[in-house]
């Protein structure tokens, strides 16, 4: 009986594998992998707060969200108006300062993109993404 059940389970698993393999082959170029942010590029609210005056907060959310509320002292830096906002943001930066970028929540992607562009395009070091984003900030208040 045990052998029979195991065999049935194997048959079912094999049957499930066929469409799975087909989908993997068919969509092989269409899977959008989102690799996790390396821990070295993440900062928690507690860590960012501990940096005190030495941190610049970058709000990567849309203008409306920033206007509604934001981390005290944060500067708006979103990709909708990147070319306009970046020079204003850079005016607040000086060597040695850390930048913490946040967007709405854990699942949003805007902070990651803004951080990437600051590192790669502007070549600014010490740029971090806030873990949990604005939601995490609100919870920590």
């Amino acid at each position: 009986m045990k052998f029979s059940l195991a065999r049935q389970a194997l048959i079912l698993a094999a049957l499930a594998l066929v469409p799975g393999m087909g989908e993997a082959v068919y969509f092989r170029h269409k899977i959008s992998w989102q690799s996790p942010i390396p821990p070295s590029e993440l900062a928690t609210v507690a860590q960012a707060r501990a940096w005190g005056e030495n941190v610049i907060w970058a709000d990567a959310r849309p203008d409306e969200d920033f206007a509604r509320d934001h981390v005290p002292g944060a500067l708006s830096l979103n990709e909708d108006r990147w070319n306009e906002l970046l020079p204003q943001f850079l005016a607040a930066w000086s060597p040695g300062k850390k930048i913490v970028v946040y967007c709405s929540s854990l699942s949003c992607n805007a902070s990651r993109e803004v951080a990437r562009r600051l590192r790669k395009e502007a070549q600014i070091p010490d740029v971090f993404v806030l873990e949990g984003g604005w939601e995490a900030w609100l919870k920590s208040k």
Partner: protein, 239 residues
């Protein structure tokens, strides 16, 4: 016994397949806007292939830069329609992947994720977009590299500085490659300039920033965080 379990499992699978009523022609679209486009619009067409009407519960985009809407709230059997997803390009670059989650009252498939992949053409790749000198530093020129995108031809670029305190010199370093030397007159005081970079015969404008900054800031004494003790820098920090 064996036959019964197999038959039961397969019949369940067949039942679920039969109840999947709202069928999208494609759940992933790739868009190729032109450099002048402000938006990229994707049309996800569908048909209700079932025998019951399907009602939309919600249509939500993954970010504020994308809006999505259904033309109707109810889709009668056999009827076709589309979900329109509009991605606002803004100043974004490269490949942008945004998703739209469609929720319906279709019990077999209550949620469908539609993916909009937008390939934004990059006419010029500028690195870095920011050059700076510390106050009091020797005002040596700093270089900005400009590479023309593969699908574009640019023979000349024009660079303009918003401040007369910064001088720029453009040099062609290869086919589709330029070097911009930026030099401040002095670094005695804090100042900034926006550099406007424009390819010949193009309306598109690119930007870089040159700035004299404060001397490096001394790290302030860390304020102990509340709760569990956290390191002052993230673990494994390499910068």
């Amino acid at each position: 016994m064996k036959t019964h379990i197999l038959a039961f499992t397969m019949s369940i699978s067949v039942c679920f397949a039969a109840r999947a009523e709202l069928k999208f022609d494609k759940t992933e679209l790739e868009l190729h806007p032109t450099p002048a486009d402000k938006q990229a619009v994707g049309h996800f067409t569908y048909q209700n292939t079932g025998k019951q009407p399907v009602h939309f519960k919600s249509v939500k985009a993954s970010c504020g830069c994308t809006t999505a809407q259904s033309q109707k709230d109810e889709v009668p059997p056999g009827e076709k329609g589309e979900i329109t997803a509009t991605f606002n390009i803004g100043d974004r670059t490269g490949t942008q992947v945004k998703t739209v989650t469609v929720e319906t009252d279709d019990a077999a498939k209550p949620s469908t994720v539609l993916t909009l992949r937008t390939i934004i053409p990059q006419q010029l790749e500028i690195t870095p977009t920011f050059v700076f000198w510390k106050q009091g530093e020797k005002p040596d020129p700093k270089a900005i590299t400009v590479k023309v995108g593969k699908e574009f031809t640019v023979n000349h670029i024009k660079v303009t500085s918003s401040s007369p305190d910064y001088q720029t010199k453009v040099e062609e370093t290869g086919k589709g490659e330029f070097k911009i030397d930026v030099q401040p007159k002095d670094t005695n005081s804090i100042s900034a300039s926006t550099l406007t970079i424009q390819p010949e015969d193009s309306q598109k404008v690119f930007y870089a920033t040159a700035r004299i900054t404060n001397a490096p800031t001394e790290p302030s004494a860390p304020v102990p965080p509340k709760g569990p003790v956290a390191p002052t820098t993230p673990a494994g920090q390499t910068h």
